[in-house]
Symmetry: C2
Subunit: 313 residues, 2 copies
């Protein structure tokens, strides 16, 4: 989708009176984002992003926003949310929760080099390490129950072959895992379009609205599947080696993680195959964005089943 | 002074292991600052300033640093301090307290236009408004007792005329003030060299190491004396009108403040005349900076005595 909620200049000026950002100089809608309305706003105090949350419940927002603040406070390249004059990060705008964060510089890199993957591997591990001192907790809404429910919803629309693949993966997803797999707060959606670079420098990690507490290794699997897959779904081994080496330089893997790696790669591929199938088969009202292609993640899933890479590259 | 405490690359790399800023790429000493050692440091995560506190006691640092964080959290152009992996802003480096903050862009404007003064007036008032929700408290170390003590220390070195001026002002400084003058956290040193601009945009307010709880009007007087004085000490009325109009657009003056304005302007001029006299007469060991000229503030003081400007320009 692009901008969902339309804001008039006067409304925005009134809204900004609750902050200490100085006068509004300009604003424009951002043509990106699946579940929120975003505006770039420029005030006397600088450049910011206003997000109006179209679907997310206000209850979960403090978790996302305080985690963004926590990472930024530790020097990570994340957008710090802006507190209003009462000290709150979340306000209401047009009857919807809304927040302002600092705008970060940089551009997405859609064809990353191994060097970019090294940087992303470092940053992801840093996020996991810094997350250890974050006290918030939120279960992953895209859990096994969600996978099963979503699979039921989309199954009838799939080819026989895809139905079989989906059923197999749901079954595979239910296997018990080692109880001591490291957990923590994860980004859960660290795709290329959520990371910004200026040249080789990572300048922004954005969109924390899937962050949750789950296996750290699952977060790595989500990241690897997006950053290190060729169009066919198979791994680009140079990117893969670069990302993993960088990650484990900051956080060493434990033996039970090496065991669970195939599971995590397949679970991560399944989650995005399912959400994309759902978005395609049941588009939301008013959605004007291009739907993302589910087959990319079917291919990634099949590739991970056929050719399991080692966690120690 | 310029860099006081010398840091080797290896020491800095070891120090940075307590943070999550990625690898050190480069660092250089900053030839500025009166009481601290500062280094620009560049890591994989961006550009930062490392400050080693040569004189400030570690006890007061959390007050300064959490206030900087508070302002930055509210969208003010102040440097956010970086928390270490334990969540602390202050660490020890070479047996001295040290902290890392984000580096801000921009340059000092030593010959400000009225437009710059408008921007500074807005920013100072915003700082006072945002400070209302800050819970820390610290008395002003440059209070009347300090003024008296410092006057005693420097008096014998002054001409008869300057001695008389100083004695008069100490006496004037002791008069009782209205008990309901608005107080709050103030910067207390918002000189031109502590504000950075890019063009007409204020991009950085720095050096919060004189921040304290005191009269808001005193902070305005400190700011006006530096930003709006001609070389002779007399006011540039265009700058003065611009700064005051901008300030009172964000925070209205109260009648007792209008009464106290002459007092605040003279107290603010006295404080910097005294500290500069002290720095000149009793230079610190190892100090290699140029001492700032005390006479500038003697002239400002005399000008404020002779020609009291209105707080409602």
């Amino acid at each position: 989708m692009s901008v969902y909620t339309n804001i008039e200049q006067q409304e925005l000026e009134t809204f900004l009176k609750q902050y200490s950002l100085g006068a509004l100089l300009s604003y424009e809608g951002i043509n990106a984002g699946i579940e929120n309305t975003n505006y770039f706003i420029t005030t006397e105090n600088g450049e910011f992003v206003l997000t109006i949350f179209e679907e997310l419940k206000a209850e979960a927002l403090p978790y996302y926003l305080t985690f963004m603040a926590h990472l930024s406070d530790h020097g990570m390249p994340t957008a710090h949310p802006i507190a209003d004059l009462q000290g709150d990060y979340v306000r209401v705008l047009k009857d919807k929760p809304a927040a302002i964060v600092r705008r970060l510089e940089g551009q997405n890199v859609l064809e990353p080099t191994s060097e970019h993957c090294t940087t992303v591997g470092h940053a992801l591990a840093q996020m996991h390490v810094v997350g250890e001192s974050f006290s918030g907790a939120l279960a992953n809404p895209r859990d096994i129950a969600w996978s099963e429910k979503t699979a039921q919803r989309v199954l009838a629309q799939l080819s026989d072959e895809d139905q079989q693949l989906l059923k197999n993966e749901i079954q595979y997803r239910k296997q018990p895992l080692a109880s001591n797999l490291p957990q923590g707060i994860i980004h859960a959606d660290l795709f290329r379009d959520n990371v910004m670079f200026m040249g080789q420098t990572l300048t922004g990690i954005i969109d924390f609205y899937y962050a949750c507490n789950d296996y750290l290794l699952y977060d790595l699997a989500v990241t690897v599947n997006d950053w290190c897959s060729l169009e066919t779904g198979t791994l680009n081994m140079d990117s893969y080696t670069a990302l993993l080496n960088a990650y484990c330089a900051e956080r060493e893997f434990q033996p039970q993680e090496i065991e669970a790696w195939e599971y995590m790669l397949r679970a991560a591929a399944l989650r995005f195959w399912l959400s994309r199938l759902q978005d395609k088969i049941f588009p939301k009202d008013g959605e004007i964005t291009h739907t993302k292609d589910p087959n990319i993640f079917k291919n990634i899933l099949q590739s991970r089943i056929n050719d399991v890479p080692s966690l120690n590259p």
